[in-house]
Amino acid sequence: MTGTVQQAEKTASRRAVDRTVAVTVNGSPREVTGSLFDLLASLDLDARSVVVEHNGAIIRDRASLPSVILAAGDVVEIVHFVGGG
């Protein structure tokens, strides 16, 4: 019984991962699939050199990027350090 529930949850989460959704990244609309980590990979960005904010919450532990699955309407900000005074 428990096994079936776990299986169902696994299938559901796989569906969420595979689904392409419309989100906003750095102020622009974008179709994405999967996790924040997948998003960075698709943008060819090194997670170590950026900071990601997801729906207003900063991802402080980069190791958690793969576990945050993007949903329709999510707002993502990807920032980095630039020259400044």
Partner: protein, 269 residues
């Protein structure tokens, strides 16, 4: 005088200490407005600075330009001080500071809450609010402020680890407009006072340091010079000279001449 010491140590053997951390150089520099990253790095080297400021901005996802600075800066040599430049209210400044901390280098922030686009003068009400919030979250807040003593005192009370009054508006190069105010702030605060903004050339930096302040942060004064690398060297020398002159204690001003050579033993007398 130590003959083999670095200029910084010769000027003042005591390091600059902010929130328990020692810094060897009293000159802090920004990384903005340079024509190329190569010139920027050479200027940082020539300045002798340890603390360098950076800004937080969106990554350009179209890659029309790669503005990321971490590929160019050796973060084992330079202490990154993120700023909140461009923030016009306390909430934004706090958000930028948190983003900067999440980059994983340190919990220090050069806090700017700007009140006016034309002058870039600080919104001191928002600045105090953001200082309190960030200090409570464990940030080491270095607060960019105007040359007002009362605001400086309140920033110290709010938990700022350093207060950074302006010499004159950001990017103006006008030098120090109110030496009396800067001196008063230095005399009354317990935390270090780092003058930030307005220094246009080496003599400006020297005069600022002669007021007894603990250091200077500058960007445009170096970056906008015709030869930024040479100006960085000049600023380094000026900061050391100003610090040494302050510690040496200048002679009293007199409005009459006092001869330097003996007045006796003249021939024919």
């Amino acid at each position: 005088m130590a003959t083999l010491a670095s200029p910084e140590v010769a000027a003042d053997p005591a390091p600059l200490v902010i929130a328990g951390r020692e810094f060897r150089s009293r000159l802090m520099v920004g990384t903005g407005k340079y024509s190329t990253n190569t010139v920027m790095i050479e200027a940082l080297e020539a300045s002798g600075a340890e603390v360098v400021t950076v800004a937080v901005r969106r990554v350009d996802l179209d890659r029309s330009k790669d503005e990321g600075i971490l590929h160019h800066l050796d973060t084992s040599r330079f202490f990154l001080l993120a700023n909140t430049a461009g923030c016009y209210n306390a909430g934004d400044a706090v958000r930028y500071a948190r983003l900067a901390r999440a980059a994983g280098f340190n919990e220090w922030v050069k806090l700017e809450v700007i009140g006016d686009e034309k002058t870039l003068l600080p919104d001191t009400v928002g600045l105090l609010e953001a200082t309190k919030t960030l200090a409570a979250e464990g940030f080491k807040v270095m607060a960019y402020t105007n040359d007002d003593l009362i605001t400086a005192l309140r920033l110290e009370d709010a938990g700022a680890v350093a207060v950074m009054p302006l010499a004159s508006p950001i990017g103006s190069g006008l030098g120090m407009l109110n030496p009396y105010a800067i001196r008063t702030i230095k005399q009354r605060l317990s935390v270090p006072v780092i003058v930030d903004a307005g220094v246009g050339t080496a003599s400006d930096a020297c005069v600022v340091m002669e007021q007894g302040v603990d250091g200077i942060l500058m960007n445009t004064g170096i970056a906008a010079a015709t030869d930024p690398v040479r100006m960085a060297f000049a600023m380094r020398s000026a900061v050391d000279a100003g610090r040494a002159a302050y510690l040496a204690g200048r002679m009293p001003r007199r409005e009459v001449a006092v001869p330097s050579s003996p007045t006796t033993g003249m021939i024919g007398s």
